[in-house]
Symmetry: D2
Subunit: 131 residues, 4 copies
């Protein structure tokens, strides 16, 4: 089965004084890939928030940084979702430069009601997708 | 008359691969000083947005970058507001490292209605402050 | 003559509590387009810094914000460079959503020696391009 | 024994369209506290990099997000370092709003040689501090 992936180019904004990508920014890259996975299923966060009152909110993240990414690198971010109970999804993600694994992350995302920021069940259409 | 100013420390997150502060981040520093000026007058953007439905939105910015700031620098950001018509405020701002002028900026801020994002008049309590 | 342009998608990381793109982030988008213009000419900033000791550094920026960009927007950033004296380039840039002009910016970029951060002349191969 | 802590104010730049702090930005806050812990011991990253050729680089991070932080919140970030082998330090960190725990993080930091980005032993003066 193919794994969803999304390309990310490293720009100056992503780097720090050490000449490498700032460590928090890998989490931005991971979120871009999750967003594009969602979009590939026909949904967007702006529509989910505006029309259904659903926010996806990260409740846990674990990242292993193996090798630094640098300016101008062309990265690929993978995204493998699986259901985690009734209210959250776990995404296994990898940050690759060619065949080289630069970092991997497990990111757990929960559903919040947009108005109250209280947890809510995963919408049916999300459950259907991540099983 | 004294000028409002706010200290900002440069952290790794602010720097880029050139070893200096990334150019867009000076605008973040300037906005911190504007926010603290507002707070010094007894208001906050979260209260203004939540209770009065007012967002302050930047409509124009001009920045001159003279000397780079670097990691660990202690900067001071000044903030001199003046009224600019019925719907906006102009902030003259400087970014200093000791007596050294690193950058200066003119930032024009307008009022938007939080729901519609349409322009609205400056609230009376803001007009009273910036004359 | 065609104008160089580069697509940018708006992600959650780019937005702020007002539901719109944070004002400093438009400058990140503009810099991505300048970087890709440079790449389209066969150069990259990492190679220029590493092999030739040249950093491009923004010395001035003027931005007009006309309409807010929002989450999930597909933007296009244009980039029109012209030479500005012996040591800098001016980029006229626009941020578009379809035919709608959201913002425009004039960004002046100078050359610095990577080690000393002192100004230096534009390299010949840059002059040849922006004439 | 007292725990090192550092105050962080939430600004617009830290928030996202959900009205809460963007999840990657908690890692920026954590890094500010680590930097200030280091500074409280008389060192700075710029001096360590420039004079000793040492970069601290995050090799692992685990974050639990419990409650969202919002615009204008006054947070406190704690920082409890302990040695982890010969080449890395583990920081236990918490993000608090008053007595309320918003998030906690374990961040593992290793030493890299600034030029080569290769791992190196913790400098003696760091070992002396974190034992």
């Amino acid at each position: 089965m193919s794994v969803f992936s999304w390309p990310v180019r490293v720009y100056v904004e992503d780097t720090d004084f050490g000449g490498i990508v700032y460590y928090a920014n890998y989490l931005r890259f991971c979120e871009r890939a999750r967003t594009e996975w969602l979009r590939s299923k026909g949904w967007s966060q702006s529509v989910l928030a505006g029309e259904r009152g659903v926010l996806f909110s990260v409740v846990g993240a674990q990242v292993n940084y193996r090798r630094p990414a640098r300016l101008d690198d062309e990265l690929v971010i993978t995204c493998e979702p699986r259901r985690d109970g009734r209210a959250s999804i776990c995404f296994a993600q990898r940050i690759l430069r060619g065949a080289e694994l630069l970092a991997d992350a497990d990111v757990r995302v929960a559903c919040l009601a947009a108005g109250t920021l209280r947890p809510m069940r995963l919408p049916e259409f999300v459950v259907a997708e991540v099983g």
